[in-house]
Amino acid sequence: MCVVFASFQPIFLTVSNFQNVTRQISVLIILALGETIVLIAGGLDLSIGSIVGLSGITAALFSGKLGIVPGISIGVIIGATAGATNGILISRFRIPSIITTLGMLSVARGITYIISDGRSITDVPRSYRYLAEAYLGPIPMPVLIAAVLFLIVQVLLAQTSFGRRVYAMGVNRTAAWLSGTPVARIELIVFTISGLLAGIGGVLLSSRTVSGQPTAGSGFELQVITAVVLGGVSLFGGRGKLWRAMIGVLFIGLLGNGLNLLDVSPYTQTMVTGIALIIALASDQSLIGAKRDPWE
């Protein structure tokens, strides 16, 4: 895909375009890290887009009042709190994650509107943008943050007993429980991580716009799930690799960027994304050649 775009539009291969794209994608990458853990554990998190909005608005609000560092910390903590609330409702109250996070989608977005009164918060210190605009050498700061978080989550999933338990739980929850996995606690941690990462993503996004937007992040959940599933993570839990999920995000991000540079209308882009999702999954299944029950 990259080759095709590069041959049609030389701007695609410039350093500034890559810096631009990676900066945009980094928020999605951070969200996708959380969603991947949740999906592997056999859950689903539809609330990340709303948590992005909520944490972004609180970070912007408190940065204006208390200074940047407390503001950003509060934003991230709010994200983790929302995620932990999801986790408690799912693990202790046994409400299906699709319903819990669907409810949280409304609740978090509603609170965002209440806090901001539906207006964007622009009363933020100018240095608030540093987080999204700064560079370390040639690498934009958000990319660096995303890369560090990726490494942490990768180690967590692939190298620790926690990661193996997440996989075990996603494959067969009952078996995992019977063999001594504390499924409720793992579930709580998984959703808290997802909320925490959504909080970081929300702060980064609001830093990029140097304001708190109450509508920020709406619809991100579907974009992220699309990207992660494109990257081979199963919706039914237990299967998927983190780095492949990230390639899914890169694919979606570069697809959008390339189509933008080629002046394709955003409406056509929406269509192309949908078709890409269906085709990618269909070819994935036929490549695996999975044996299927005749009734499915």
């Binding site: 046994r94 319903i99 409304s106 978090a108 509603g110 882009q269 949908g274 999954l281 029950d293 009734w295």
Partner: protein
Amino acid sequence: MESFIGVLLRSRRLRELGIPAATIVMIAAWSFASPVFFRASNFENVSRQASVLSILAMGTTFVLVNGGIDFSIGATVAASGTVAAMTFQQTSSMLLAVLAAICIGAIVGSINGAIVVKLHISSFIATLGMLSVVRGAIMQITGGSPISALPEGFEKIGTGNFGPIPVPVIVVAILFILSRTVLESMHIGRNIRTVGSNARAAYLAGINTLWIRFLSFVLNGILAGLAGLLLASRVHSGQPTAAFGIELQAIAAAVLGGVSIYGGKGKLHGAVFGVLFLSFLTNGLNLLGVSTFIQETVIGAALIGAVWVDVVLVRRR
């Protein structure tokens, strides 16, 4: 005391009465709280607003009972409403507009169904993809601007009255009776439910499970198409951005009304009561001057609470 309440909540008959009872209690509460609530004009207003969501919740019930899920109905509503408006603009014929809406719904539903049964992609992803495709297509066709300046007559279905009863209510009633007949009394409906509760058993019993899956998406698509026509008629224009995110509301309403997201369980009237509950909840909060921002929070909490009652108190394991 605890066990007494438990027994009450576990009683099947009582559980089915749960949401209707909650709706009636809420209507009573709003009547005391707001002087303008218990008026014919307000009820007419609520019923008009609730009609589109009712039709969508009925369609969603077909798919959920069959063990699937459909995220593409919001986009289908926009597409069918817009195409119906275009048709009416060209021909001034309401019959053709209705047929166009039904066609668009049936086409989207068929594609959903075909992707699910032929490409073996889960309905979650298939309809998520179709959401983008259909919304993108209708935005592309219209350039994102609404189809307005329609000839007289298009608004009759959405805004008209038949005696004292709003026409949308009559449309919903007819569609409800038809859907109920299909789902509860006909072979197809029973097969839809059987496939949803146990696809393997259904297959072994000789049911063409793939065909039944396909049909549930087509039926849902047709209902979404009609809902799109109703909405377009009410606002007297085809809005390509209409009904954004309404699929989540329809699923929430159906689940509130006792339809299981795991297939096999749920009744159409439950879904409609779920819609009434949500509609009266927002209407009452509106009349009390509660901001729409707080309403969104309340609705999300209500959804979680209702399912919690269902999961924890009723199906305790």
